[in-house]
Symmetry: C2
Subunit: 296 residues, 2 copies
DNA sequence: GTTTTTGATGCATAATAGGTATCATGAAAA
DNA sequence: TTTTCATGATACCTATTATGCATCAAAAAC
């Protein structure tokens, strides 16, 4: 015979009442049934849980230990059932969200905050990652939603623009361009650039390089950093200049000068992307939520 | 129908194997039995836990939630059974120990340390209290063992001496007795005394007063503090002198002078006491442990 | 002394779980 | 294509387990 939740339920009521007859009434079963169940429980545990006589029933020390533990088990069971039901109807769950530096510096925080207000049961698990990584993770079902750079038009993916950034040029204080009110791309042809590694930042380069090519040059990348904070750090050290977005610049600590680029009208888009066949309820809810948002 | 631990056990194995036939083999039951148990579980939860087809079985989000919760419930059940068994054989449990200032300043710490080494499963819960309080708590089953001052010879109680203290006189620095190497009781007849309140310190007074009477005076208590630290504090402020033990003196911070009392040979005993009819295993174990100790 | 109340027990019944045989369906093999 | 194989689901019967009723033995209440 095995101990089941039934034994625990009966035991706990008896441990409260300390009277077989009353406990059996509370449980809506007969008194012999309760006696038997407790006997079986004690036999299976090979432990006496109650001292009984015709006058009194009281818990042994072991009984008190079992009482505490039993309560925890029953509460845990109830909580599990409740959570499972709520997950199934979308009231609870987890949403794995990937984000780039551009997204976290821009619209993402406010979006997640609003989503949390609307769906307080959904736990958002954010994972930082560049665009390429996120697209892989989406396909490997490591991510539900990715916030990535640049338009993605792959079969199987759906997306929605959530953010438009105007790129700006960022130079260190004291740089020969630092006194300018604005620059053109052509002004930057001879400059050293600091940026991220080519593979990881492919989507950003896809946006920037054509613009530079149109201006008649290819940016000379002389230093690579692993994220935009690192890039800004290298720029402020005077290793070169960079082109990023205004929101990223706002994250920097100082020693940097932002310059508008007058001859770029193209914006750099940040998109939310997800797999069309992602059927998870939290994902659906986030997609629906996104559809209701007005994005400038 | 009610959800039981059986459902969870079966569910967890299936969630690992994701194959009904293999899971049923691991569980040593037939495949139809497993199929129906899972069906019953899902019906009771009103939640789909697995997506099934002839090709694959996989967990739904709700299934994953139930998996986590179910694991916790099962672990909790196992832990509870284990703890209960250990409590019943005395490998685990709690021992409520009362102690006086004299005990905690003397032999108690070492005793508890040794007991813990011998019975690592027993959690010692110490409660500070004067002798009178502890005796009440023992009788109300609020305490298992009391460490109290002075011999107790009440019916129902058993005891064992654990500590003998020679009382010393403690005076503040600069006191007119502070230069003496030792004092006699008679030297103290005209002094102001600081001590604890009469009711709570009854047992201490029972020891001290007869000695003073023999020396021909009754100590004049001019200040009361609630514990020995407070008493020593008042003494160091010059409010009076006191008679305590050397171990208590060692707890003081300074500004005090200890003086042996040459004409007291009677020691002040600290005893462990317990009710004869306390049947709790941890208590028995502590009593047995005490019996094995050599007490000076 | 009688009645009432307590927990325990014997026995029959009801509810639940399990096993065997079998089906329907889709994938892989021939 | 047809055949074979593996999958999960279902039908039907059996074994196990839980329950209720009637009753007992012992102690307390009256």
């Amino acid at each position: 015979m095995k101990i089941g939740l039934r034994h625990i339920r009966y035991f706990l009521v008896l441990a409260d009442d300390l009277n077989f007859r009353r406990a059996s009434e509370h449980l809506h079963i007969s008194q012999p049934a309760l006696t038997r169940t407790i006997q079986h429980l004690e036999a299976e545990l090979k432990v006496l849980l109650f001292e009984r006589s015709q006058n009194f029933v009281r818990l042994t020390d072991a009984g008190r230990a079992f009482q505490e533990g039993g309560r925890r088990v029953l509460n845990g069971m109830e909580a599990t059932i409740d959570l499972t039901r709520r997950v199934s109807i979308g009231e609870a769950g987890a949403l794995r969200v990937g984000y780039t530096d551009f997204a976290i510096a821009g619209a993402l925080p406010e979006l997640l905050k609003q989503f949390h207000q609307k769906h307080p049961g959904i736990t958002v698990r954010p994972h930082h990652g560049v665009t390429a990584t996120q697209l892989e993770e989406l396909q490997d079902d490591k991510l539900d939603i990715g916030f990535i750079t640049g338009p993605v038009r792959h079969p199987g993916f759906q997306s929605r623009v959530v953010q438009n950034d105007r790129p700006i040029c960022i130079v260190p204080e004291g740089h020969h361009l630092a006194m300018r009110r604005s620059v053109t791309l052509a002004d930057l042809a001879e400059e050293d650039f600091v940026h991220g590694p080519a593979e990881a930042w492919a989507h950003f380069y896809d946006y920037l390089f054509p613009l530079c090519r149109r201006a008649g040059f290819q940016p000379r990348i002389v230093q690579e950093a692993f994220n935009s904070v690192g890039i800004l750090g290298l720029v402020s050290c005077g290793m070169g200049i960079t082109i990023l977005t205004e929101s990223i610049y706002d994250f920097a600590t100082g020693g940097l000068v932002p310059l508008p680029i007058s001859d770029i009208s193209e914006v750099m888009v940040t998109e939310a992307v997800w797999l069309s066949d992602n059927l998870r309820l939290p994902t659906q809810q986030f997609v629906d939520f996104l559809a209701q948002q007005d994005i400038g």
